[in-house]
Symmetry: C2
Subunit: 361 residues, 2 copies
């Protein structure tokens, strides 16, 4: 999709969202407003989709039952990877998704979720909330007729399930790996063949050897897919998803028509959801990992050689993208400074503390 | 303070908070309600005290200006270390503090902020929100007539400023160290002399050599105190504060009288504040650390020998406390399981990712 037509569609569709508020209601301070939220995630993901449902319930409570948003799972009213466009053209007022999915539309979208070797979840939140990220991203999203809010984080993800061990950079050559986005482009440079396969078909593709590896999220979500039965090597870390953030996107036209009190309710509720989604992942992952390992999964870590080569390639990719896309460059420069400064500080107290605790048990 | 008299005071004072709601207002669905919040923190801490002020503003916005809470800095209406009692006896409806301060009243309070070698900030949030912590803590706080909410986290703190290098366990013997709570008891077992000195007197005590070391928070807060000028060795990590949580405490009687919509507003706003306080620390600490180092501070890390000895002593202290206090024991057992499981998971993806990023820059 081209950026220009994407924006054009938004302008055409913007009036559609006006219909959500009945004209007489505009005169009241607390009108009844009904919105629809299109999620990219299935109902089975209680963490993320469940989180958006709980947010809707909270917004209703905060407004005395007047402002109601109904969340629809991915595909029910909008295909999972088209929710951003649906917000733009006013088909729905709100979406819950991961900005990475839209990096093909504009690579600068990626900063709202995370880049390879990017910020961990606390750093991502700090950058967004108090490190200048919100201002940069809101300016960017405004071009698309959208206002963005944080909507959860999975923490550092796993690197996926592999049929064979991958020890050296050379082992990546020819690897058929189900992975997308910027990480796919980096693996491609090392000779891998990134694959796009619908989630439901991955298991049989791995079993038959049509593909050699597949990545998804972390133990709690991965466990449901059962990949460990056909591809036992469970690699860490998912360096392309160091702290991937989920986001809520709201059409600016719809947003601007909300009473201030409803805006406050929506924005405040997104923080609660942001906390709860991460907390649910953090609380559920340990037991899920233990079950995966009990059922044949074997933990492996990407070697230093692989990590360093991929890190080098990711930095090159950032520069290529910055040359190609001024919107990417504008966010990249301050983002890189924030990342480096933050990693230095995290290596002083937070890192040594965690390393010690890992060493004693 | 004895637990029994603490509770007794609460019962006596509970009716005081009834005054906050005018009788006719009770009949309305959106009465005007005014509360006072007593903070343990000074106005100069924009992170924590500023966070509570922003929360009050948000709650007012969410309720159309009807539910107003005014935040008072530590000492202005209640002494910093007496805010818990003030909530109990209805002097104020709400407090913002760190539960550790009240470990002398009941050691089980400590779990709401954090124990030595305890959970990092993400783990603390996950344990509280989705790991059973909230249920255990609310049951405990109910005995004190209080309902508790998360209210920020500093992340792993620094270990403080030392006049001389501390390399071995033997070097701790005789050390006059400004430190309190459980950590003070652990240092005491190694021959240190824990000191309680008012914040304003620490600089001159360090300068004169009346004390050898002092700990506070992390770079952003520590910088303001200027200790680096008189005690250059800045130690990490503050293993007694791996992820210390701040909390909001509300008197149950006052809480029960709030309309449901105001309860929702207050609770939701605490999540926003929880996110923002941590984000502000995370965004501000890197530059503050750089300035401290530029102005004479020298980074040091506690040796493996010291860390291991203190870890052993902390586990012994937990068991002593569990034998002495059944309320401590009730929370300790599931807390220990959560800590161990979570640290194992964090050492798989999150830890290696951070270690790699620390190694490349």
């Amino acid at each position: 999709m081209q950026r220009r037509s994407f924006i054009k569609n938004a302008a055409l569709g913007a009036t559609a969202s006006l219909g959500a508020i009945a004209a007489p209601a505009l005169a009241q301070s607390t009108p009844t407003i009904n919105w629809r939220l299109a999620s990219s995630f299935p109902k089975s993901l209680d963490t993320i989709f469940g989180g958006s449902e709980r947010m809707c319930k909270r917004i209703s409570e905060l407004t005395g039952g007047k402002f109601n948003i109904r969340a629809f799972p991915g595909g029910e009213i909008v295909p999972p990877f088209e929710v951003m466009g649906a917000v733009q053209n006013g088909t729905v007022e709100m979406a819950h998704t991961v900005s990475q999915y839209f990096s093909g539309v504009d690579s600068a979208f990626t900063f709202d979720s995370g880049l390879p070797f990017g910020l961990n979840s606390r750093q991502q939140t700090a950058w967004f909330e108090k490190g200048g990220g919100k201002e940069l991203l809101r300016e960017f999203f405004k071009e698309y007729g959208i206002i963005n809010f944080m909507g959860g984080n999975t923490g550092t993800q796993m690197g996926g399930f592999f049929r064979k061990e991958i020890n050296t950079v050379a082992d990546i050559n020819g690897l058929k790996f189900r992975i997308g986005g910027m990480a796919g482009r980096i693996f491609e440079k090392l000779g891998a063949v990134p694959q796009q396969i619908p989630a439901g078909d991955v298991y049989s593709a791995l079993e038959k050897g049509t593909i050699d590896a597949a990545e998804f999220v972390g133990p709690f979500d991965d466990e449901k897919l059962g990949f460990n039965k056909v591809a036992p090597y469970y690699y860490a870390p998912g360096w392309w998803d160091a702290g991937p953030q989920e986001s809520f996107y709201v059409g600016i036209k719809a947003w601007d028509q909300l009473p201030k009190e409803y805006q406050a309710a929506l924005e405040t509720a997104t923080y609660e959801t942001h906390v709860q989604i991460q907390a649910q992942y953090d609380a559920a992952n340990p037991a899920a990992l233990a079950r995966i390992l009990k059922n044949g999964g074997q933990l492996r870590w990407f070697s230093k050689e692989i990590m360093e080569e991929c890190y080098k390639l990711s930095n090159e990719l950032f520069l290529t993208e910055a040359e190609r896309n001024p919107r990417f460059k504008k966010i990249l420069d301050p983002w890189l400074r924030f990342r480096d400064d933050s990693n230095q500080w995290f290596s002083v107290a937070e890192g040594p503390m965690q390393n010690f605790l890992a060493s004693v048990k």
